[in-house]
């Protein structure tokens, strides 16, 4: 069923090329993972099913997971050797004074148009076309691939062939934080450009396998853009994002019997829903994916923030941008992390002005109630 595509020599070139670069740089070959492309195969065993498979060994959770090591190592490797536009650890960060502990970052080289190459490649390009061009474009940025494996446990292999459903993990050369990557489903160029269950599940499982609670996955859906994408972004924030610290109010319903919890984030400038499911990962993902596709149908822009190893998913529905100058916020901005390009703006940033910015994109009570109702009815349908 799984069809595979053979990479042409283009990719081999890339490997040799980067190999020689490495040796030039360090004097000793800081070997990658051999020849071919590192392919991380997700295990078929439920990582978090009804039983706590991960916690069964006392020490496992204290060690860095394989995927965590792999991602950090590849990122650190690239950070050292070049394709990054700047060193994000060089950027100053602070909490904005105030009760909400919003986070500000000064990043003078920040480019919010962070995925220009992919945008160029636009829709309706075939996979072959993509492969051909993308490998050229991203020869340095491609860190590794992720795909569903056939073995029970996740494993790392080296492969010259790539399963059809693989996701590319591509370095973001304009990182907002350490470890910033794009997680791009390969069928990215196949319309429809929607977030589907498969890609959400893969991204969420990625976060489970990383098993590091600093790691967060983001998804942005901008209804105003003509072309949307189904790629995710992810990076490490060792501190909780402000929205994660806000008290939540449970929404009661039959989904609780299935281990799914829906919460309304109270007292936050963006009206937000939070979905939580520790033991029922599949259902959590199915629920959020259904809700997202409903929002997409209604052309309601939204963002997702997946945190705590995929036990929590925050949904930030946004107002439809009515005028040309109205802009949508990214998921980390909704979460309370703001990037400033100018020193002056950074120094003068106040909680009041940022709260205002957040509130401006939030749905009004009526609109939010509608989203909540819709979410609950989907949840209750899935639970019955």
């Amino acid at each position: 069923m799984v069809s595979v595509k053979q990479f042409d020599d283009d990719y081999c070139l890339l490997k040799q090329n980067s190999g020689s670069e490495l040796s030039k740089c360090s004097g000793v070959p800081w070997r990658g993972i051999g020849n071919g492309i590192p392919l991380y195969c997700l295990g078929t065993q439920p990582v978090r099913g009804n039983d706590a498979y991960r916690a069964s060994s006392c020490h496992a959770e204290e060690e860095q997971s394989l995927l965590d090591s792999l991602l950090l190592a590849q990122w650190e490797d690239r950070a050292w050797k070049g394709p990054l536009k700047y060193d994000v650890t060089n950027c100053e960060m602070k909490f904005i004074s105030g009760s909400r502990k919003l986070i500000a970052q000064l990043n003078e080289e920040w480019n919010s148009n962070y995925f220009p190459e992919l945008a160029e490649y636009n829709v309706l390009r075939s996979f072959d076309h993509f492969k051909f061009n993308c490998m050229k474009t991203f020869r340095e940025e491609l860190l590794f691939c992720v795909a569903r494996g056939e073995k029970a446990k996740s494993e790392l292999i080296t492969s010259t062939i790539l399963p059809n459903d693989a996701n590319l993990v591509i370095l973001n050369a304009n990182p907002v934080e350490y470890g910033h990557v794009f997680i791009v489903p390969i069928n990215f160029y196949n319309p429809p450009q929607f977030l589907d269950l498969r890609s959400l599940e893969l991204a969420a499982q990625f976060a489970i396998d990383i098993n590091n609670c600093s790691f967060r996955v983001f998804y942005d859906y901008h209804a105003s853009l003509r072309v949307n994408s189904s790629y995710f972004q992810a990076c490490y924030f060792a501190n909780p994002l402000p929205v994660e610290l806000v008290p939540v109010v449970p929404v009661i319903g039959n989904w609780q019997e299935r281990g799914i919890h829906i919460f309304e984030v109270s007292d936050y400038p963006v009206k937000t829903l939070m979905f939580k499911g520790k033991d029922n990962f599949k259902m959590l993902v199915a629920l959020v994916s259904e809700i997202c596709s409903s929002l997409q149908d209604q052309q309601i822009p939204f963002n997702l923030l997946i945190s705590e190893c995929s036990t929590k998913i925050f949904l930030f529905p946004q107002v439809r941008a009515s005028s040309a100058d109205a802009c949508n916020l990214s998921a980390w901005e909704c979460g309370g992390h703001f990037v400033f390009r100018a020193r002056q703006d950074f120094d003068l940033a106040s909680e009041e002005s940022l709260v205002k910015r957040l509130a401006a994109i939030s749905l009004d009570s009526e609109g939010f109630q509608a989203v909540k109702q819709m979410s609950c009815s989907i949840a209750s349908e899935l639970s019955s």
Binding site: D51, M93, K94, L156, A238
Partner: protein, 417 residues
């Protein structure tokens, strides 16, 4: 022994949970069917601050005789000293442990449990707030040895409960009534004795089955998620994982002890040959090692004590290549990471080839706080689940960078010098 329960201490014990997990936490915890205790290491004597109904039923003590006491009251003459010291060591190192343990009921009868202890960390500061210990009865032929001493001892202790009864009176009774209703959900202690008789003697060490281990781990997870959830209500969020536990960062590198402590707690995640140098001065000879991992110590043969405060130059010897040393110096002067292939010497004078990777680590204001050095002993190169040693060590560098960067953030306007 139990008479240390003054009113001040009582309220400390009472507030231990509610102040961090809100008023509703007890109710929520009571809904969990498992046998477990929660203890607070920040109160003197490391007392029990919560005991589940299932646990009380299993051990036969009333709740008021358990709260405020140390967990060792359940140990008795047959309890293996080694197991006890293993638990004590885990508490000291703030890590989890799963071990078979012989405990004693109030009436003096011993019973085997699978004891699973797990620390709960404050997410903000990374400090241990509580320990959760789940006890799953191990199905075995438990033999009653009926020690009179333990019964007498617990009777002696019983006095303090009178006072508690007066203080809490009726509300306690309600809780007890509730918990009787819950009994059907708690583990029926008596039934397991018959259900699975493996003929093990109580006095011998007793191995738990996989399903019991699984059960303990699941229970720990459920309790942790309840605690995490309720801690969100107060904003003092907790986590069962240490990965975000590097909460405090000392920009002043001279405070080596404090910094080292953070790194020690971090290091369990990263089993690499690693050392970290402070950068009080840009010159190499002034970069004292502020942290050395166990693996580093093992590799070099020096003790931590001998390593800390020294420059890593002491690993160099007569045949060490001068060019490699220059490369390191250049990397540090230009604030760039570098990798060198360098001949190092152990304490006993034997030499080894070392892949040394040194990288600057910046704090939240973008300033270089340290240099992290990762060594790979070429003699012991092995790939771990498809990941080469070099990759793993780079992964460790990345993890240090994330932790140091994001946990050193200040409030308000900070100035970059």
């Amino acid at each position: 022994m139990g008479s240390e329960l003054g009113p001040g201490r009582l309220s400390l014990i009472d507030e231990s949970l509610s102040s961090r997990y809100s008023e509703w936490i007890r109710e929520a915890l009571e809904e969990l069917p498992d046998n477990f205790l929660i203890t607070d290491p920040s109160i003197s004597g490391h007392p029990i601050v919560f005991a589940s109904s299932g646990f009380l039923k299993m051990c036969g003590y009333p709740r008021e005789e358990v709260l405020g006491r140390n967990g060792r009251v359940f140990q008795g003459p047959g309890t293996d000293r080694r197991s006890v010291s293993e638990i004590r060591e885990a508490i000291r190192q703030e890590r989890s442990v799963q071990i078979s343990l012989l405990n004693y009921r109030k009436d003096g009868t011993p019973y085997w449990v699978l004891f699973h202890l797990c620390p709960v960390f404050g997410k903000e500061d990374g400090r241990v707030t509580h320990f959760v210990s789940v006890q799953v009865p191990i199905s075995t032929n438990s033999r009653v040895s009926g020690s009179g001493f333990w019964r007498n001892w617990s009777d002696m202790v019983g006095d303090s409960s009178i006072m508690r009864e007066i203080v809490f009176g009726s509300c306690r009774r309600e809780v007890c009534l509730d918990s009787v209703g819950d009994l059907s959900r708690s583990i029926p202690f008596d039934s397991y004795v018959d259900s699975d008789n493996r003929g093990l003697e109580a006095e011998e060490s007793c191995e738990a089955s996989d399903s019991e281990k699984q059960k303990a781990a699941t229970a720990i997870n459920n309790i942790l998620s309840t605690l995490t959830h309720y801690s969100e209500l107060t904003g003092k969020v907790v986590t069962g994982k240490r990965c975000s536990s590097i909460g405090i960062f000392f920009p002043n590198c001279s405070d080596h002890t404090a910094f080292r402590k953070i790194l020690e707690s971090f290091s369990r995640m990263l089993r690499g040959h690693m050392f970290i140098s402070g950068r009080t001065d840009p010159y190499l000879h002034d970069m004292p090692i502020v942290y050395a991992s166990d693996a580093f110590v093992k590799l070099t043969g020096y003790s931590k004590h001998e390593v800390l405060g020294r420059n890593c130059r002491f690993l160099q010897g007569p045949n060490t290549d001068v060019e490699a040393i220059c490369q390191i110096r250049e990397g540090i002067e230009t604030a760039q990471p570098c990798t060198v292939h360098i001949l190092n010497y152990r304490k006993d004078g034997s030499s080894f080839w070392n892949f040394l990777h040194i990288s600057p680590v910046r704090n939240a204001s973008g300033k270089i706080a340290f240099y992290v050095g990762v060594q790979i002993d070429e003699g012991s190169k092995d790939d771990h689940r498809g990941l080469s040693q070099e990759m793993r060590q780079l992964g460790a560098v990345g993890a240090v960078k994330v932790a140091v960067r994001s946990s050193s953030m200040g409030v308000g306007s900070s100035s970059k010098s």
